[in-house]
């Protein structure tokens, strides 16, 4: 766990900056402007919620930040890396070391046990086996799944799967945690559990969190800033004071 002054210092540096970011693609004859000229700055350590209805372009922005997709024009700079200028190989390295991702549908590999799923990024990072196993155990312990290490994802509940996905996202100690509707497939109780974990990572580990959601209540409870999107454009960007440590379970209905 990082000490307070370091977190404070990181808060003032920029984690993500996008300038006139565009992502257009063709679907038959029509040009779809999934992201259309979005400029924003996210300081290190911030918990940001990207809000909007489906098709508003929030997931597309997340994919651009994650380095899974490339902008049509404009730039997205994460931790001083201009993602548009990275090679495919460098982008893979970036995804491996800088970003952790969680998805609505968990995206665990069904043929692998939890421990294997969690240590998979370490295989790509060519971490040696013994260290890989201890790191995976540690990460699973953090999300409370130590007892389930050798289970396959299909043997677990949705909440447990998402916790395993979180453990996997954390295993390489990324600076940036990107969450795409992390509670979308969960009931409100387990959804809250996951959100509490996201908040803990944000506050205790100083990770910058960008969460895509269409549930405003959830965003209001956890995010420090809410960015509203519609038709690929940024329509509102406002700070938010998250409610105190998730004691209440009002929001987060799925």
């Amino acid at each position: 766990m990082t000490s307070a002054p370091v977190i404070a210092a990181e808060r003032f540096t920029t984690a993500i900056r996008s300038e006139n970011l565009c992502r257009h693609y063709r679907m038959g004859e029509t040009l779809i402007r999934a992201v259309d000229g979005v400029s924003l700055d996210v300081p290190s350590g911030e918990f940001v919620a990207l809000l909007g209805s489906s098709g508003s372009g929030k997931s597309s922005i997340l994919n651009l930040i994650a380095g899974l997709d490339r902008p049509t024009s404009g730039s997205v700079i994460v931790q001083d890396r201009d993602l548009a200028k990275l090679s495919r190989e460098e982008l893979a390295k970036y995804r491996l070391h800088v970003v952790g991702m969680v998805f609505q549908s968990f995206n665990l590999i069904p043929s692998m046990t939890l421990a294997e799923n969690v240590e998979l990024p370490l295989r790509f990072a060519e971490v040696e086996r013994g260290r890989r196993e201890s790191l995976a155990r540690e990460a699973l312990e953090r999300v409370g799944l130590k007892a389930r290490m050798s289970h396959r994802p299909s043997e677990l509940s949705g909440g447990e799967q998402q916790r395993a996905a979180l453990a996997r996202a954390l295993i390489n100690r990324p600076k940036l945690l990107l969450a795409d509707e992390p509670t979308g497939n969960l009931d409100s109780h387990t959804g809250t559990e996951i959100m509490e974990m996201l908040r803990a990572f944000n506050q205790e580990l100083g990770m910058t969190v960008v969460m895509v959601t269409h549930e405003r209540v959830l965003a209001e409870r956890y995010a420090q800033r809410m960015i509203f999107l519609a038709d690929g454009k940024l329509i509102d960007d406002r700070p938010n004071s998250p409610s105190a440590f998730g004691s209440s379970r009002l929001g987060g209905q799925s």
Partner: protein, 468 residues
């Protein structure tokens, strides 16, 4: 990704769709098996031929003839070499000189002559040939009934099967089942033959042709004279061999065999005696050919060259085996191409399986990319899967091919036995073939993995993750 991780993940993925991957691997196995079966048949046949050649005692034998013998006409050396008329005489001093060459174990004259043999008062005209006692180990006598000569100068003969049939008046009509050697041997072994032959004697009567009268000088040529005496000799039949004289070369090309020493002491008039009478001193005969046995077949080339240097014409199985090897090279290519066809078909199976796997594991590939797998990680993973299928298929295929070979070998030998032909081992899976087959299957699989692996590596993670 590191190699052990790659293999581990690849094997895990193969296990996941067990049935499909087993079937694909099976396809490779069948391809490899056919390749192994084909090539081991080729190798086995070659080994069988080589074994035959080696055992026939011909592999370490050089046939030496005088250049005056018109054998091998048309060869380059014959056309460009020295005038045959001036060539050296193949006589006893020449034989002794060859005997003294390095790596030569024995040199014996080939005594072959045609004469009359009487059996139960019926005359039979046939070709006889002398065999050295070293021919005992010759596999030409493997199927022999009776025994080999008791000594090198015993008055004994071994008959060719065909001649035995002739003696018994049993020459079968064409197409009829041949009588077995054992049946032929029973009434003949131990019986006596009477041989009539022309003996070359000392020149007791003076030359009757008036050479001097013609005014020619009295040179040593005049001394070249001998008498020819008609003789009779009793011979005991000790063995009947079942070999086919037409397929053999050298001294084996005869219907009746005599021990060498015995034959030499008969001093039978040879054709060369007449031809070389103007050159040879009367006391010693000129040989039509001699056989030189070399201590080690690998030294044959050197000895052959040395004898050529002496001015004689040579022929060895080595010359024949060169062309045999050529034939086998072509056979190998043919068998290899046919064997590889099945493997080529199997490789299409690999492509198919891996392309299917991409469709099926689209999401998985997307996930791996999202959490940091590079294009090359994904590519290597698919290559590893293809390679693993190749190696597994190769190993199973080699075993399968070996088993097929054993079964065919067994079946053929059962059939050979029913035809009372001795069993043969015409199937060989040498180590190089095992290594080659597995390696080839591996390479073919990697090649098949090229397209699927490239396609998987280029997969767009956003697309891959979009749909459930």
């Amino acid at each position: 990704m590191k190699f052990p991780d790659l293999t581990e993940l690849a094997l895990r993925n193969l296990r996941e769709s067990m049935l499909r991957n087993s079937l694909t691997t099976m396809g490779i196995s069948v391809g490899v098996a056919s390749l192994v079966a084909m090539l081991s048949l080729g190798t086995g046949l070659q080994q069988l031929f080589s074994r035959r050649l080696e055992k026939s005692g011909l592999f370490d034998t050089i046939f030496v003839t005088s250049r005056r013998e018109m054998r091998g006409m048309g060869r380059a050396e014959e056309r460009n070499g020295p005038n045959p008329g001036e060539s050296r005489l193949l006589d006893e001093p020449a034989r002794l000189e060859m005997q003294s060459l390095a790596n030569v174990s024995e040199v014996y004259p080939d005594i072959r002559f045609s004469t009359e043999l009487r059996f139960e008062d019926k005359p039979h005209l046939t070709m006889l040939s002398a065999m050295p006692s070293s021919a005992r180990s010759n596999d030409a006598f493997d199927g022999m009934q009776g025994r080999f000569f008791s000594s090198d100068d015993a008055a004994e003969v071994i008959l060719q099967k065909a001649f035995a049939e002739e003696l018994l008046g049993k020459t079968p009509p064409l197409g009829a089942p041949e009588p077995s050697v054992a049946d032929l041997a029973k009434p003949l072994l131990g019986k006596e033959l009477i041989m009539h032959y022309a003996q070359r004697g000392a020149a007791t009567p003076p030359p009757t042709l008036g050479i001097d009268a013609a005014g020619n000088k009295d040179t040593d040529v005049a001394g070249a004279s001998y008498s020819v005496i008609s003789r009779e000799q009793r011979l005991t039949i000790v063995g009947i061999s079942d070999l086919d004289p037409e397929s053999m070369r050298g001294p084996l090309r005869a219907r009746v065999f005599l021990p060498l020493k015995f034959a030499e002491n008969l001093h039978v008039v040879q054709l060369t005696d007449l031809r070389e009478i103007t050159r040879a001193p009367n006391s010693q005969p000129a040989y039509s050919s001699v056989s030189v046995r070399v201590k080690d077949p690998s030294k044959i080339q050197g000895v052959e060259d040395a004898i050529k240097q002496m001015g004689f014409h040579t022929f060895s199985i080595l010359d024949a085996s060169h062309s045999l090897q050529q034939v086998f090279r072509v056979l190998y290519a043919f068998l290899g191409i046919f064997g590889s066809l099945a493997l080529a078909v199997a490789s299409i199976g690999i492509v198919n399986t891996l392309v299917m796997a991409i469709l099926e594991r689209r999401r998985e590939i997307g996930i791996m990319k999202a959490i940091g797998a590079s294009d090359s990680d994904v590519r290597k993973l698919f290559f590893a899967e293809a390679g693993a299928m190749g190696i597994l298929g190769g190993i199973v295929g080699v075993l399968l091919g070996w088993a097929i070979g054993q079964i065919i070998n067994f079946g053929t030998n059962v059939w050979l036995k029913s035809q009372s032909i001795p069993p043969e081992h015409f199937w060989a899976v040498p180590l190089w073939l095992v290594v080659f087959a597995i390696g080839f299957a591996f390479l073919v699989s990697l090649f098949s993995g090229l397209y699927p692996a490239g396609r998987a590596a280029r997969l767009d993670p956003v697309q891959a993750l979009r749909y459930e």
